[in-house]
């Protein structure tokens, strides 16, 4: 991360504090609870995430990072969107487990949307079913790296996929057609 010189002292202070102590909130959008149990294991003294300043908060209004576990059920989708909208900027989303990335074992069922990315923009995916606590910590640390990069580059725009230039065939889409 490169230091930006055009930031005021208070902005630099806020950025420093944010990177030193990310507050996370957890949302279960229809998971089987294994991911949630792993998150609880992450918070225990054995893994001790507070040494990184990671603090689990009950309210999305206090959080910087939203961890979403599970495929998004059709009932939960509007709730997930509303919770995401309640978070203050800058906000980051971690999709956890196989379900969060593309549905996992629930993929293609009538009551799920298959991916967190269909509802809220996802920054980091954590693989696994369920991911181990150290992988969750790794995901959060990776999010912190992204946060620092975003501050240095002035926003999230640099990570957005560019549309294919005219004349060239578009790249393979993320969403392969799956379903029953």
């Amino acid at each position: 991360m490169t230091e930006r010189t055009d930031m005021s002292l208070s902005e630099r202070l806020a950025t420093w504090a944010r990177l030193k102590s990310p507050w996370i909130t957890i949302f279960n959008s229809g998971a089987c609870n294994a991911c949630d149990i792993e998150i609880i294991a992450t918070l225990t003294p054995r893994f001790d995430v507070e040494r990184f300043g990671i603090l689990a908060k009950g309210s999305p209004r206090h959080a910087d990072i939203l961890i979403v576990t599970g495929p998004v059920t059709r009932k939960q989708a509007p709730r997930l969107r509303r919770i995401y909208e309640q978070m203050p900027e800058p906000k980051y989303v971690i999709a956890m487990g196989a379900c969060g990335s593309q549905g996992g074992v629930f993929q293609g069922l009538y009551h799920v949307l298959n991916s967190v990315e269909d509802v809220v923009p996802v920054d980091v995916y954590v693989a696994g079913c369920p991911p181990r606590p150290d992988e969750i910590i790794n995901g959060v640390v990776e999010t912190l790296r992204l946060m620092g990069e975003d501050v240095a580059r002035g926003g999230k725009e640099w990570r957005k996929k560019q549309p294919a230039p005219p004349g060239e065939p578009a790249g393979e889409g993320r969403k392969a057609e799956v379903g029953p």
Binding site: R74, R81, L113, V119
Partner: protein
Amino acid sequence: MTEPLTLERAKEVLEVFGPVAQLRSNRIQVVTAREKARDALKAALGPLSCERLIQMSVTDAGEAFELTYHLTGQHRTVISIRVNLPRADPSVPSVHDILLAAGIYERQIHDLFGIVFPGHPNLKRIILNEDWPEKEYPMRKDWKPEKGTFYGGIKEEVK
């Protein structure tokens, strides 16, 4: 300790409604017509003292739905009352008034299979999401999601 329920005793009471068979050591099944389903249930509730509903199950067997009431009581023998409902007209009178616990199962079955229970006081959506389209029953074997139909969830794209 109550007396165990024997097949002979079950046959005495339930034979008038349809063929009675012992499926397993503690499970007796009677297959009946839907007009007699209520009376068969009353007989199981009263004389056979099966006053507890374990569950109501539905199997999609192609041309018919096999609706089964599983009942039991102090004697711990399970009585299964099976009704075959034609796919063209899947309806059976509600038993909510004589067996209170059946009401919530009937709502659920109505939601997922589209079986109608005339006489139910509140036969409306219980388990699917609120914006699920009407006349779509996802647990039927021949159900497929239509392309272009909105099945609920969220309409606005990700910003």
